[in-house]
Amino acid sequence: MTGTYLGMPAFPAFPEAAGEAVRDEVLRANLRHATHTIRDKRARAVAELEDWDRLRAAGKAIKDHTLRHLDCYLLQLEESVTAAGGTVHWAADADEANRIVTDLVRATGEREVVKVKSMATQEIGLNEALEAAGIAAYETDLAELIVQLGHDRPSHILVPAIHRNRGEIRDIFRSEMGSWGRPAPEGLGDDPRELAEAARLHLREKFLRAEVAVSGANFMVAETGTMVVFESEGNGRMCLTLPETLISVVGIEKVVPTFRDLEVFLQTLPRSSTAERMNPYTTMWTGTAAGDGPSAFHLVLLDNGRTDTLADETGRQALRCIRCSACLNVCPVYERAGGHAYGSVYPGPIGAILSPQLRGTGSEIDATLPYASTLCGACYEVCPVAIDIPEVLVHLRERVAQGGPVTREGIRVTLRPAHGHTAERAAMRAARLLLDRPGALRAGERLLARARRLAPRRLPGPGRAWTDTRALPAIPAESFRDWWTRERGTSQ
């Protein structure tokens, strides 16, 4: 079984990666500032809408209904897009999607493409695939540009360079812009205004000559074939309207049935993500329009683990996600561990349930992601489509520890328990043995009480990891049962 590629090489388990991030004080300060700023703003933006709970329920129901009939809506979408002058391609996995896009770019004769920020193309590692085919892919979102120029990885869904402060960004621009195109202006400072201006100058020459663009989409409307992209900077509009050829790679879960359904998400997505009443720019296009925008439009519908996720009745709610990133900004674990620790383009709470489902729990990082949470529930509270992330986390923990039936690449298989949970299962079996035998339990307790001064402060063997971060409780001088017998005179 091949693992589903999520755009990144093998990663260390979450606890190791997080441990390193937690010791980076600059990173923690950057993250704390950013997440707290946006979560406070978001709360105010949401409080403005008295019907927020009803919008949330409607958004959840629209997504659930669509997923229940996903085959019908995808076929309807294909028909609508084709009728409007577009071409639809279907990609079962990352390799196939990358091959389709590479061939489409090659057919235009171009050697470079401009890109709108897109999670789906990061997920499949499209930039790397294009580079291998001799095609340069330029990210045009400011944060993605910072990540690309810094030879870095994105660490947040909405603000991929959230882990960088202005000084670091200035240094990256100064040293790297020249090798990709127009260099940074002389004496570039670290004021965000100056940095944004440098990005404008650097990218404008690319926008004005670009013949091919690659994007994702926030929504696709089955009824009309309309594609929707939310953005702020105008780089999206540049890519979506100036080139001759537009290629959009979109996860199959992004479809909604009707144009009217957008009324829900146009209200909930901006407020949840950037904490604004509306993001500065939203572009909607339907196939091709005569004389306005690209003359060729290709839509690549991407599965890459989504149908496997759909097969899990508890886990499939992750497919409702509209990528707003509100769950990242409220998560106490994300705030301290940072986005890179999640080892996927989807970090934070949603990443902890999405990545192990899209990729399977075979790797160490994916087996540990369901544990990257305190289960505090804040992510569920803010989610605009009411994904019960804690419920899915617990469900996935059970899958990792116990194994069980799961669908991989469309085939039902039975997972074996993951390594590293042997001690946990042995401890549970020992506990059951002891609790089933009151006499043995009583004897054991007395023995423990008498030997309490010999008890170590840290556990030996596989229990060591547990006591690395926790104090071992002191053993009382007398067991509860003995105390009860002494006080009340009966052991019942």
Binding site: R54, P192, S232, T241, A289, G293
Partner: protein, 208 residues
């Protein structure tokens, strides 16, 4: 088996469980407003995103546009095919038309653009363009650094997002604009003007 068939077959095996009806009990509009109150709300929300808002009527629009273009120092202005001619009757800049042969680089040299709109949404401070003849192609409101958009009030003003979608034609290219181009990618400090127009001016035509 094609990937399309494979994906559809996987979906059909996977999709199970009860279907849920979509509750539509959310509000069509948030609050009751007079047309004047709606215009005020649009103006306030646009201003919060640092768009500049002006009000005038048919008699005053030519002078207002002349003044706004002069203040900006624009020498050239892009004009959509069916912009009412009297709007720019008093303006000095050279009028540039967006032709099929004009390249993006040529349009990049133009300083301002004046357009109408399809509608505007008060609750969110949004104007929507649908590439109608008084708005032109999408690229003309994107490349110049200065966009002046005229909203006819009350005819083109709706209160809410649901009301807006009812009136829009999804087969047309749609651009929803809420304030000028902006980014919050550096330490979440909002900066206006990255790739789109850095200055957005909205004229509420007919609203006093």
């Amino acid at each position: 088996m094609s990937s399309k068939d494979r994906i559809l077959a996987r979906i059909r095996r996977a999709a199970s469980g009860p279907d849920s009806a979509v509750p539509r009990d959310y509000l069509r509009v948030h609050g009751a407003r007079t047309p004047a109150e709606s215009a005020d709300l649009l103006a306030a929300n646009l201003a919060e995103y640092r768009a500049k808002v002006h009000r005038t009527d048919e008699d005053g629009i030519a002078l207002l546009l002349m003044r706004l273009l002069a203040e900006r120092g624009s020498q050239t202005v892009l004009v959509p095919p069916a912009l009412p001619p009297h709007w720019l009757a008093a303006a000095d800049p050279v009028r540039i038309h967006d032709r099929a042969a004009s390249t993006p680089a040529e349009l990049d040299a133009v300083e301002s653009v004046v357009t109408g709109c399809a509608l505007a949404i008060a609750e969110t401070g949004t104007i929507v363009l649908d590439a109608g003849p008084d708005q032109g192609r999408r690229r003309i409101t994107l490349i110049p650094d200065h966009h002046i958009c005229v909203v006819r009030v009350p005819e083109q003003l709706v209160d809410s997002v649901p009301q807006a979608l009812e009136r829009l034609d999804p087969t047309r290219p749609l651009t929803w604009i809420s304030g000028p181009s902006a980014t919050s990618d550096i330490e979440l400090d909002r900066v206006e003007g990255v790739h789109g127009p850095r200055t957005l001016e909205v004229i509420l035509l007919g609203a006093q």
